[in-house]
């Protein structure tokens, strides 16, 4: 008698482990690293984040000198969030970043 049989029959009455993803969402732990966002007021445009970013995804805006993160290159390693002296950059819980428009893939 295969030992997996009781397992399979019990599964029939157990709650399925999978969820209907787009409709039901799983809550994420608090230090989840998703899309980085920049808080313009706190930022003193020191440029540390742009130097520290491993992929060079952060460039300083010409006029406002505030960081602009291109999500195409960003690997959400939260290195900028750590090295920022004013903690201006924080990691959100957002991970669905697919867009059709390249210009939208920038975290202002």
């Amino acid at each position: 008698m295969p030992r997996i049989l009781p397992d399979v029959l019990k599964n029939l009455f157990r709650k399925p482990a999978t969820t209907k993803y787009p409709r039901e969402r799983r809550e994420l732990p608090e230090n989840f690293r998703g899309k980085p966002i920049v808080d313009k007021e706190k930022c003193i445009s020191c440029g540390l984040c742009a130097k520290g970013c491993p992929d060079g995804a952060i460039t300083l805006d010409e006029k406002t000198k505030k960081p602009r993160i291109w999500l195409g290159l960003c690997i959400s390693c939260a290195w900028c969030a750590e090295t920022c002296p004013r903690k201006a950059i924080t990691m959100t819980k957002e991970f669905e970043l697919a867009t059709y428009d390249k210009n939208k893939a920038i975290s202002k």
Binding site: P2, I4, L5, V8, L9, N11, L12, R14, P16, A17, T18, K20
Partner: protein, 317 residues
């Protein structure tokens, strides 16, 4: 004139194309849903098979250059036609099948083999190495399970007074109880249930279509409507083979009255078929796929022996 109209209605609607396809696809959908829950996941909705087949019909129809196009194109149709023919010859809602006194057990067994032969031809004709490997495996497996299947069917025919016609078998079972409960025929019932696991290419024996080794075996090169027809044919085969087993072993379309509620023949027939499909799904979910040589060795020893024992028991006693 009325006779041909009845026949046309029977062919296209009731036990024919519409009914068989709908029930087959529904059974397969429920089968996938149960498999999902057995693997602790939600699984697709029950009507998923209809959606899949519908999508496939809208897809482009491709015939590979290297394929032998005539055989490649007409294999699915032949396979589908044979199964619908079997549906007409089975006593579904009453002891009399649609085409009375034309066919008996031998024709049924022969017609049930045509889908397998078509698949083998399709595999060789598709000109892709996976197809050829899949077909050669299918031939080996065909000899494996067919032996047990035929011996078990003969045992039932012998028990029902050496008559090969299905209606007489159903009639025999109506008088003195289901065949499966006869002591002599219990080994044959077990043997045939294992044999259909091989006939329907279900997991312990889905070697011709081993998706991790040879992609989809004979059906690798199929796409679009041809693949849709093959899918419907496979689902109907699932229903038809279960139907044959119900007729041979579990009393066929016999109306019951349980607790004052009158259950018509066709409903009890469908329930019993569904029972067999669920049993096959259970076996599918608790075993890994065997190699072709192991499968052949298994088929020729265990189920064939059981079927032979019950045949001897029936003939001797």
């Amino acid at each position: 004139m009325i006779e041909t109209l009845v026949y046309i209605f029977a062919y296209f609607v009731f036990p024919g194309i519409l009914f068989a396809s709908a029930v087959g696809l529904l059974f397969m959908g429920i089968d996938r849903k149960i498999t999902g829950h057995m693997q602790n996941r939600i699984g697709p909705p029950i009507w998923q098979e209809f959606l899949d087949v519908g999508k496939l019909f809208c897809k482009e129809d491709v015939t590979p250059a290297a394929a032998n196009s005539f055989v490649f194109n007409c294999a699915p149709l032949l396979c589908y036609g044979a199964l619908i023919a079997v549906m007409l010859l089975l006593p579904i809602n009453s002891a009399q099948p649609v085409l009375t006194s034309v066919a008996d057990l031998i024709v049924i067994i022969y017609l049930l083999n045509i889908p397998a032969v078509c698949m083998i031809l399709a595999g060789y004709a598709s000109g892709c190495p996976f197809g050829t490997t899949g077909s050669s495996r299918y031939v080996v497996q065909l000899f494996g399970y067919e032996l047990a299947f035929i011996i078990a069917a003969m045992a039932v025919a012998a028990k029902a007074g050496w008559s090969l016609s299905l209606s007489s078998i159903v009639a025999y079972q109506a008088q003195n109880g289901w065949m499966a409960f006869q002591v002599a025929l219990i080994p044959a019932a077990i043997a045939i249930l294992i044999a259909i696991q091989g006939k329907l290419l279900r997991v312990p024996f889905d070697i011709p279509e081993a998706e991790s080794e040879i992609v989809h075996g004979p059906q690798t090169e199929y796409s679009g409507p041809k693949l849709a027809i093959l899918r419907i044919a496979y689902d109907i085969e699932l229903f038809v083979v279960a139907a044959v087993i119900v007729i041979l072993f579990f009393g066929g379309p016999v109306p019951h009255t349980i607790g004052g509620v009158y259950i018509p023949g066709i409903v009890s027939f469908l329930i019993k078929c569904f029972g067999i499909v669920v049993l096959s799904t259970l076996i599918r979910n608790i075993a890994a796929r065997l190699r072709i040589d192991q499968a052949l060795k298994f088929f020729w020893t265990f189920p064939t022996l059981l079927a032979a024992i019950s045949l001897i028991l029936v003939v001797v006693i």
